[in-house]
Assembly symmetry: D2
Homo-oligomer: 301 residues x 4
């Protein structure tokens, strides 16, 4: 089954939009909007700041520095004759798109030279952006979100690093929520690990609980369009076949199934309010050729 | 009246959330969602790429460079014993947040040392991010968008640079659309100038049609929570009192009224489909202390 | 002869130090130092600033932004109990190393997959720096510099873009200077084109006078260790076989002969003072794996 | 005495070149060159690479990423008709200039709002570079270097963090070397702490042995033009009056005396070869308005 790359075959060679592009219809959007009861918006994202956790070396450091400043711009404008002292503050940000709460573009991961849609990494990975499968190909999504909370399955408020979340765990969480996964869903996994984001980054990065490859395949087979989690990588780290098999969930979801991965999602308020399904919205900035995008997904309830 | 900074007094000294934070309620969201008929999502943003137009020197150049690459990461992982050739593509982006379609944080502009909410720029403009009024204080917004199309008021498909869009123009556009501005609206101005974005950046940056200060005050007085336009700066450039008075619309909207500005918005599909009011959604990434954020706003119709 | 890559064979497969590493001896340094008469130091470099000319897209934009600032650092230090108001100013620079007056590392250019020393680009071009042939392998050099001034050969104070500087031109310049090239020399070519650096960047980048491939081979055959010029690329642009053959001088000097190239050199004061040979010093910062380095070479006379 | 800022008064208000600019003459250069015996060049710098030690937050992280690559540039050039497969490798570097072995510009430190030469930080610290006192004002220097080795004064091969190096220590080192400081010298202090650079960065950054303020004043009073050390900051950390007085040596040397500071210098080979005075050369790249510069100083012996 590992060699049977059924999913990307599903939409043919050259496809760039994946599950979200093919499966989501206006009907999904309408249905999700129809589920909204009181119009409250719940933010599902972290603050992004210097020191944001990152998996080095691939995820490079985030930096922000203010400038030009109002003081400097006022000086420059006075020299040009202005009298109203309009001060502009801007900043310079240096980042990889895989910082904070973010979504992976389908071109983020390969199996050898093969990217999703049968694209060759050799020709797609261009110097100034992916020639194909960049985040600009992902549509904005407004669909149902389903929260699977496995954080308390081991007796504390979180699973430990290296704990695989299996199909059985997901089924148990679904049963507890009295839900099943439907085509077009965004599946949001809460492991409890997210509590260490920026509070104990060393621990947060030391490994993580997350889904194993079988669970990933089980989820994508149910036609979800994205899978999110409250950790760095969605998948269990170290992996169950570490170090021989690295990041198999990424390989499957992105390169095979065309299903986006969302990382460092924040579900605390949903959990507190006991919300397990909701209208989920995410709109990734179209950085051309980018391999992902920091995002601020929301739930509307 | 110029000296009567009534608006920010409205929510008191120390306010950080402005009109969007105070005026938008779940009812606005519910009402906007209720207006959706068929669930179609219309993207209102440009691609962001190298060479994106910018107002130098304040807006510094955008750069994206791919790396690490799948080839490099596969080599590194093989050395650590991996056999599944998981290749990761990432990138490095260097930018100001005022690139492409973006929203201005309230701390983006000052009047002398005074920022919105009575904050002093001297203490707020910190080295690594604004201490107050950063984009993270802006809530995600789901509200009604109103499109005011003035692009054909001068007989061609766009207004020319330096052409002020006045209160009378806005009233005429509203009358044509059979709409009035309601509290909580996002006002979207289409001048036709957006057609030069990335097709003729030199022209796009040479000036622009846009609202004058009176029009800005007229709009904010009607309690809109953001004003968007299909140009670099929303306001007419050169300004009507250039060079003595620089960017008065920015000063008024951001520093006085606490009303966000959205720039480089794309309304072509809305225009084509003759849509003048719609459910507008925008969710800015919480870059801590940032003076704005590139965004991908959408209309749902 | 094109296929006879004799030079890099000269020091064997796997060599990383090239002509400068092999040919320069303490005797060259001693001899160069011995030529100094009065101890005057002449700067041979340009200022590097925003807007520095660059050959897009390969040479990406230079950016500098000040911060942290003394004001901000004093505030932070006061909070930690400091009373002496020590303010620190720093900056953030984003650049390619090929900015301003700079030197090319041997790994900067390839012939297909082949780099100097027989290294394969596929394995050498690592994500975070060249695994081989980075600028850190270049020794500091103190040797004789020889200035060949061809700027007035066509009747004005500069040669025009596209004008090849040939072996005959070099011989004529040498004869005028009553010099011959000796092993270990750095050859400095003055075309007059450098006057357009930052004074008319559009022209500076529109093409340039420079050596053709035959002249390059003639120079490297005389065992110079670096070739410098007052233009962007040393070689004539467009090339004499443009567009079929691109940058043959770079391919020959760097990938075959192991001879460094120095660009955007400033020789005005040397010319004015009629100095044609001098003690040349250059010391490139050891950015590990970098493909070049901005430098400030000097002449001591 | 703290308030008696005698030094910068020495060359008057508005001076930008400091001790190196005023004290160094061609005679110093000639004399230094005259001391060279065999022409050997000794590199006094570290490799600069990702993970280079830095004093956060002021010193921001160093990043290098390769690209464009030979593979990508060959593809682009083939599309334009080229047949010779000229591949170009470049990189993107993001840095503060205070990385690795580097020199501080005179504008790097202030006493409150006062910079060297009586410049006000308020007006000098411009958004895109220091308006005054940037590194471009520093001349290249070729002068005598004097190595003061205090590394074994406490019985091991290094002094410990927090150990002040006093006037008495410097005198003892000078006596051992049978040297005295002469006007125009670059003083190079070896504490032994440099062995932890990139081998134990946590320790390297935890504090350091270094000169106290009295020693700094004693050195500058003898008309040295720069003071270098094998640590991050030249001065003892934590300082002797920590936390009330922060970085007094920087304030004195840079803002008062106009004497440059060189950090992370490597003197291992000089020590091994028992060299205590030598011809010292340093040439900082003219990044306009930069507060310092990474450098590769050399000794010629």
């Amino acid at each position: 089954m590992t060699n049977c790359i059924h999913d990307h075959g599903r939409w043919g060679k050259g496809d760039q939009i994946g599950a979200a592009g093919h499966l989501l219809t206006p009907e999904h959007t309408l249905k999700a909007l129809g589920s909204v009861r009181n119009g409250c918006i719940i933010d599902l994202s972290h603050l992004i700041e210097i020191g944001a956790p990152r998996m080095a070396p691939n995820q490079s450091p985030y930096h922000i520095q203010v400038g030009p400043t109002s003081a400097g711009s006022i000086r420059r404008r006075r020299k040009m004759g202005a009298t109203n002292d309009a001060g502009s503050n801007l900043e310079r940000i240096e980042m990889t798109t895989h910082v904070g709460t973010h979504i992976d573009a389908l071109g983020h991961f390969s199996k050898g030279d093969m990217l999703y849609g049968g694209y060759s990494a050799t020709v797609t990975v261009d110097d100034f952006g992916l020639a194909n499968l960049g985040i600009e190909h992902m549509p904005p999504i407004v669909t149902r979100g389903v929260l699977l909370d496995v954080s308390r399955f081991d007796g504390s408020d979180h699973l430990e690093a290296g704990r695989p979340v299996t199909i059985a765990d997901l089924e148990r969480a679904l049963a507890a929520a009295k839900l099943s996964i439907e085509p077009g869903d965004v599946v949001c996994l809460n492991t409890g690990w997210g509590q260490f984001f920026m509070t104990d980054n060393e621990r947060y990065l030391s490994g993580e609980p997350g889904i194993d490859e079988a669970a990933a395949r089980w989820l994508t087979a149910q036609d979800c369009v994205a899978i999110a989690a409250d950790n760095m990588a969605l998948e269990v780290l170290p992996g169950t076949q570490h170090p021989e098999i690295v990041m198999p969930v990424h390989q499957h979801c992105l390169a095979e199934a065309g299903v986006h991965i969302i990382e460092n999602l924040v579900m605390d308020e949903l959990i507190e309010r006991d919300i397990r399904s909701f209208c989920f919205m995410l709109s990734a900035v179209k950085f051309k050729g980018a391999t992902g995008c920091p995002v601020r997904p929301i739930a509307i309830v």
